[in-house]
């Protein structure tokens, strides 16, 4: 296993302090980049790195940066998305808490590369601790002359500000985030215009995830090609932070190359399913990504199919990449997996997540507002023994009507996992429609005694 990059300073004593981070290499790349390289060169390296956005959609960061085409007099903003609210996802918080200077360094290099002078880091309001860590790191960097009027002595003022949200999942959607940054309700905006044309304060804006920006220093240091080659898949480069939660022996975060398999992630990194129980299902990259069923085989007999190499193997043996997972009918999302053992009832698990979406829909679009509420009603009925077999198809119909008809991708991010659940675990939904669920059904059967302390 190669040595860690993104997380290399996590183990350094008080890694969040400038002196300690610098002793471990922080800001060397920024100094070199700002004093000795040209912005266009830096953008080229990021493009060659095949850095796919780490916020969920996996859009290539270098390509996104290329959309900037400011008009005379326009100023460009960098906005860093630290809203981290997708259920199951807990990776960005570790960067902010344990290596805030990596994010600040990434922001400095990125600002220079895209000709921005101000970066805002939008942190979800609950993470008050991370907000403080970042503010302290920014103050130290300013004091040291890495931010401010002349960062590293060059004539390109750069400042970074932290902006705390106040509790709303939808503010992770980039245009909702921009509204929230501007002091408005966090409601998504119609696109186009895209943020790169008209974003924060009406100006061209690049919105990138925390981990995306934190990857930039390594890319510039190693060179885009070399960094890209760390990944195991074409067009999807580098290393990333994987998370595993739920029923595994060793839940947590792991740095690994792009393209390990879900089986490796669960068994080799996360210590296998809790107490050796059978794996029932895994939600691969946050709650909006359709579930994987380890019993299912990849069906790609045609040689042209992108997954032909894995034809006949389990879904969890396909390498984890933005494109491979899309071909599999799911999404890589945030790369933080939720693992469920055989004690979990999928209808109940599904109800848990759909309640989340009902709570978090911003309500602007009728199909989303009504659809999320209706899905929960139908699932409540199934769970409480008031369901009918037709309800299972009703779930499918409601979901289909939510897709493609809304201002933002939230509705699709609700409907797709709902459809995936019914498609892969239909029998369980049918059983619930006929028998309901036992009154005492819950998700934590396998850990309950250890949490409640009764042996």
């Amino acid at each position: 296993m190669s040595k860690p990059l993104l997380t290399s300073r996590y183990g350094v004593e008080e890694s969040w302090k400038l002196a300690n981070a610098e002793r471990a290499g922080a800001y060397e790349v920024a100094r070199q980049a700002l004093t000795a390289r040209k912005p266009a060169e830096l953008r080229e390296e990021v493009k060659k790195a095949n850095l796919r956005g780490r916020g969920g959609a996996g859009f290539p960061a270098g390509v996104k940066w290329g959309f900037l085409n400011p008009e005379e007099g326009e100023r460009i903003y960098l906005v860093i998305n630290a809203d981290e609210s997708e259920p199951g996802t807990f990776k960005d918080r570790s960067i902010m808490d344990l290596d805030p200077h990596r994010l600040v360094e990434g922001a400095i290099i990125s600002c220079f590369a895209i000709d921005a002078h101000v970066a805002y880091i939008y942190v979800r309001g609950e993470l008050a601790f991370s907000v403080n860590r970042l503010e302290e790191a920014i103050a130290e960097a300013r004091q040291a002359g890495y931010l401010g009027e002349r960062p590293f002595g060059i004539d390109h003022p750069i400042d970074v500000h932290v902006h705390a949200g106040a509790g709303a999942y939808i503010c992770g959607e980039e245009t909702a985030l921009l509204n929230s940054l501007e002091g408005r309700r966090g409601e998504p905006r119609l696109k186009p215009p895209f943020p790169a044309v008209k974003g924060a304060f009406g100006m061209p804006t690049i919105v990138n995830n925390v981990e995306t920006i934190a990857s930039v220093p390594d890319i510039i240091e190693m060179g885009g090609d070399a960094w890209s080659a760390l990944g195991r898949l074409p067009g999807d480069g580098g290393v990333r932070i994987y998370g595993v939660s739920g029923h595994v022996n060793n839940p947590g975060l792991f740095e690994a190359p792009v393209g390990i398999t879900m089986r490796e992630l669960i068994d080799d990194y996360a210590g296998g399913v809790l107490d050796g129980r059978p794996l029932k299902a895994v939600i691969p990259g946050g709650s909006s990504t359709p579930v994987l069923d380890p019993q299912r085989k990849v069906d790609a007999p045609n040689e042209d199919h992108p997954l032909h190499k894995w034809h006949g193997q389990s879904e969890i043996d396909v390498p984890m990449g933005v494109d491979t997972y899309r071909a599999l009918g799911t999404m890589l999302g945030t790369c933080c997996a939720i693992v469920m053992d055989d004690t979990v009832n999928m209808v109940e698990a599904c109800r848990n997540l759909m309640r989340f979406y009902k709570h978090e829909s911003c309500g602007q679009c009728t199909p989303c507002r009504e659809g999320t509420g209706w899905l929960v009603d139908v699932l409540d009925g199934l769970c409480n023994g008031r369901g009918k077999p037709e309800d299972v198809d009703l779930l499918v119909d409601i979901s289909n009507n939510m897709m493609g008809n809304t201002i933002c991708a939230f509705a699709d991010g609700t409907a797709m996992p709902m459809l995936g659940m019914v498609q892969k675990f239909r029998q369980e939904f049918m059983d619930a429609a006929v028998h309901g669920l036992p009154d005492d059904v819950r998700h934590d059967a396998s850990v309950r005694s250890s949490v409640e302390g009764v042996a």
Binding site: R133, Y169, E182, F254, G271, R442, G453
Partner: protein
């Protein structure tokens, strides 16, 4: 009575205003300053913010009601958020909520009789790998079991929230004590042994007395 920020916080508002090209963008940070001082966004607070940022109170109300963390009515001295989204529920989130309700004597959505704690259900708080967890005021408490939760609540009652947080709260996504790194991120696959179960699924050793 009219609301006023402390002189120190007033200065912070002046500094915050320099961060943005538009005055309105200071709304969320200023609401945060006010709520930290006042506990909730009262009509007097809204009045103050309206004058300070030159926004109508209707606009402020619209924003306050959009975000779950801004309170438009008074809450208890401490606010306890218990995460009930899937990753936490898979690891005992319901047991944690049940215990809190018993211990505080109130259901989620309500405040304890002595006014000390308001208990609220939360959606995923980005601590899924350290489930189950709760947030109390500004701090996270992770890798919980009910004994650990009792210790935390008792410390709150005896010594106050800041002292309890200093002793028990965790940072950095690893459920590690706040001052340390935890170090649970690794690029080398850890051996899938039973030992790993122990280390990862229990509270950090120096914040729990026993391992029952």
């Amino acid at each position: 009575m009219a609301f006023a920020l402390t002189p120190e916080r007033e200065q912070q508002v002046d500094e915050i205003l320099t961060r943005y090209p538009e005055r309105r963008a200071a709304l969320l940070p200023v609401l945060w300053l006010c709520q930290r001082q006042n506990g909730w966004i009262s009509p007097e607070v809204a009045e103050y913010v309206s004058k300070r940022l030159e926004l109508s109170t209707a606009v402020i109300k619209g924003v306050v009601t959009f975000y779950t963390m801004f309170f438009d009515e008074p809450v208890g001295e401490n606010v306890v958020w218990v995460c009930r989204t899937l990753s936490c529920d898979l690891r005992g989130g319901k047991a944690i909520q049940d215990h809190l309700e018993k211990k505080l004597g109130c259901a989620a959505g309500h405040t304890s009789a002595d006014g000390k704690f308001t208990l609220l259900k939360a959606e995923c708080l980005a601590a899924c790998g350290q489930a189950p967890m709760v947030q109390i005021n500004d701090y996270y408490y992770e890798n919980l079991n009910v004994q650990q939760l009792d210790r935390i609540l008792d410390a709150h009652a005896a010594k106050g929230g800041e002292a309890a947080a200093a002793e028990f709260s965790s940072c950095a996504s690893f459920g590690a004590p706040r001052g340390s790194n935890g170090g649970a991120v690794t690029s080398a696959p850890p051996p899938p042994t039973k030992e790993a179960v122990r280390v990862a699924s229990r509270p950090p050793p120096d914040s729990t007395g026993d391992e029952s």
